[in-house]
Symmetry: C2
Subunit: 133 residues, 2 copies
């Protein structure tokens, strides 16, 4: 059984919630999955929720940065949300710098950020409430 | 370190993505967390994504059913999404019956379902794209 982190499609965004303290191979699987899904779904935004992550090391920090750079090349904006204070401290202390990453406090603020960015292109993001009954 | 499954707030819905094959205590923690968050956030819908779940036993099946019943009493509708075929087979074979649960194939369809159900009350669900720059 291969462990996998589910990638959820929400309108034209992809949402990934990282919960277990991911080990190196899982991070690479996520990188592969996420980039394939971006291409498959023509996603314009990627939300990575790391509220379940209590520790982070330089490898994982770098993988997250790489995922964002790859998403950027594939024309999707990455927002990392839900970072715990300890993780922020560790990332700065490790000297991890992210090029193409925005951060937001929680998923909602992250989606707002993406909605704002994709203004006029994110109609799919709205839940279709006028579907005929 | 207590393992926890993050509960994400999306508009007036809560989204939980169950990834690890959850053991009994974690299921009970989730039950507590989710019901508290429903009250805290006045959520009207709960989406439980179980696409990462490859096996399920009767205990977990019952916990999911209970969570839905609790949510129902707290005035929130539960939709379980992303069920793998093997899990569906197991649930039927185990004779697990869910009273207050709807299912949908994926998160998007689940949100549509909730959007439809909460028609006119789910404005928050739409991402705010007209925020002034």
């Amino acid at each position: 059984m291969t462990e996998r982190i589910p990638v959820l499609k929400l309108g034209d965004c992809l949402l990934v919630s990282i919960q277990t303290d991911i080990y190196d191979r899982l991070a690479l699987i996520l990188q592969d999955d996420l980039t394939s899904r971006i291409v498959e779904t023509s996603a314009r935004g990627v939300l990575i929720d790391i509220s379940g992550l209590e520790i982070v090391d330089s490898f994982i920090g770098r993988v997250l940065g790489n995922v964002a750079s790859m998403a950027r090349i594939l024309d999707a904006q990455t927002v990392i949300v839900g970072m715990q204070p300890a993780v922020a401290i560790t990332l700065v202390e490790l000297g991890v710098t992210w090029q193409h990453v925005e951060t937001a406090l929680n998923v909602e603020k992250g989606m707002e950020l993406l909605g704002l960015r994709f203004q006029g292109r994110s109609e799919d993001l709205n839940v279709d409430v006028d579907r005929a009954e």
